[in-house]
Amino acid sequence: MASRPASGHALHLHGVSLQFGDGRGITGLSLSVAAGERVVVLGPSGAGKTSLLRAVAGLTSIDSGSVRLGTVDVTHLPPERRDIVYLHQSPVLFSHLSVDENVAFPLRVRGERGQAVHARVSAALSAMRIGELGARATHTLSGGQRHRVALARAIAGRPGALLLDEPLSALDPTLRHEVREAIVAAQEEYGPAMMLVTHDLDDAGRLADRVAVLLDGRIAQVSTPAQLFARPATLAVARFLGLYQEVPGRIRADGAVASPLGVLAADALYATPLVAAQVVVAVRVEGLYVGPPAEEAVTGTVVAFRHRPGGTTAVVRLASGDQALELEATIPSRDASPSIGDVVGLTLDPRTPLVFPAAAPSCST
């Protein structure tokens, strides 16, 4: 975790179960967020991320388990007594109040008046770099300013924990960058525990100290973003991340894995202990390269190109194997760029593939 002020409290979820939607639910979820830490809950749409945050904030109830902020069990406290602020996906400002009064709201409702309020409001607005907007009506603010005001209001009362529900979704890239900066600045103001939910890997990677992947109502993995993206704990996590291509494989007697990409040495990076002969080899685009066909290399035919922000990749149909297998591979240099129909060799970076049992094991907390 990055070094930053941590005057908030740690947020602990222990064995939390709750129902949402049409009979779906979260079961026995345990997760802790340290003071000053940012934990991103990452999961697909409909995984229950928002339901989880709302339950932690006290806006809905949980079926079992407990929520603790510092040493205080807040499970059965109403939202206003939890010291946990929940921010919706799009900023919800009180349109009948000015920016100043919006930011002062959490202080006013607890009875604070006078210069102390003014000082806290100014500090919160300054932290969000919108000190000049205090007198403005909320309907005159731009999208980025609205986010900043909502964050300033959230930190003005210095709650122990902040919960942010998909704060960056539906924002254009410029505004996304601005709001991301504001979120970091808001937390660095005094270091509350911060829990964010998103389904966006990029947001998770940029904001999280740790990422908790929520799949099928359970936490499937908790790790740093770097660990998560490099070593997803299960095939289900790898599939959710969408960073890997799957190649069928089989464990040989010597422990090596035979696959259409060749034989992977026994010391290949196994993500999970293997118990099955049939396996799935997960390969990243960045770990697979096209090159000139060589005798010892796996060869295939280029059938398409995909143009991505990071560069163009080639889709290669493998020449060998029982069934057609198409894999996306990196083109190492523009000079070596093949054409459609070219036969190319595929080289696998031995450090990047992961091997999982073919039948994905159930996720564990």
Partner: protein, 257 residues
């Protein structure tokens, strides 16, 4: 063609009011004269304290203001509760609110009279107030049902997690955000009572002399000038409400999704 239609519209909307003005200022006026033979301000001279029109005006104002406030006080929480219902209970509740709005006032008054007489409120101001409140609550409940259906409940969630209690959220966030709708509802409630004739007549039994009753009495007794004055007074609040609502509609900025 358009000019003809506009003249027709002006005649049907402003014509009767213009005639009322002329009639209130005219003395003798017999068919087929186009205008009164003499003019007088007599009908506009009110006897302070003892004038029947002024008393009726006061009664109507008191009834309309009280009805508006009472109906709002009931309809706001009722509309909010109904907005949370889903499926057939919601349809049933909306139909129940619509019933007193759709029912002819005479029918409503006849039914209510039985109950109010039983309560000893027949012919009393309180009885008429309750009778006026029935359609007013219906109207306003439907209005607030729509308002709360569209109301963005996220503002209340956010308020609560920012530390506001349920009561603080209601007083500091919800009600202020609904100020334009509440003002509109007060005007509608006022007008529902202000324009009641049949309900006042049936439940009030002639004892409660609201302005419409007084005007009707002048018409029946042939005091056309006084009837015209009373009728013009009746028109003022709806005209003012029309202006106010048009003005408010342009200024309304609320947290409605």
């Amino acid at each position: 063609m358009r000019a003809v239609l506009l003249v027709l519209l002006a005649f049907t909307s402003a014509g009767p009011l213009l005639l009322l003005v002329v009639q209130s200022l005219g003395g003798s006026w017999f068919f087929p004269a186009l205008l009164p033979m003499d003019w007088s301000l007599d009908a506009w001279r009110f006897r302070a304290g003892g004038d029947a029109i002024l008393r009726a005006l006061g009664t109507s104002l008191a009834l309309a203001v009280t009805t508006a406030i009472l109906a709002c006080a009931v309809a706001i929480p009722l509309g909010r509760s109904l907005a949370r219902l889903r499926g057939w209970p919601r349809h049933l509740a909306a139909a129940a609110a619509f019933l007193p709005v759709a029912a002819p006032p005479l029918a409503l008054g006849t039914g209510l009279q039985v109950v109010l007489l039983g309560l000893g409120l027949g012919g009393s101001l309180a009885g008429v107030l309750l009778a006026h409140s029935v359609p007013a609550i219906g109207y306003l409940t439907l209005l607030f049902l729509g308002t709360f259906t569209l109301f963005d409940a996220r503002v209340e969630d956010e308020s609560r997690t920012l530390g506001a209690t349920r009561a603080q959220t209601w007083l500091r966030v919800t009600l202020p955000l609904l100020r334009p709708q509440i003002a509109e509802a007060l005007i509608v409630g006022f007008l529902v009572s202000w324009t009641q004739f049949a309900l006042t007549l049936v439940v009030g039994g002639g004892e409660v002399r609201a302005l419409p009753i007084e005007v009707f009495a002048y018409v029946r007794s042939g005091q056309d000038q006084r009837a015209a004055v009373g009728a013009l007074l009746l028109v003022i609040p709806p005209a003012a409400a029309f202006v106010a609502l048009r003005w408010a509609a342009r200024r309304t900025v609320v947290a409605l999704s």
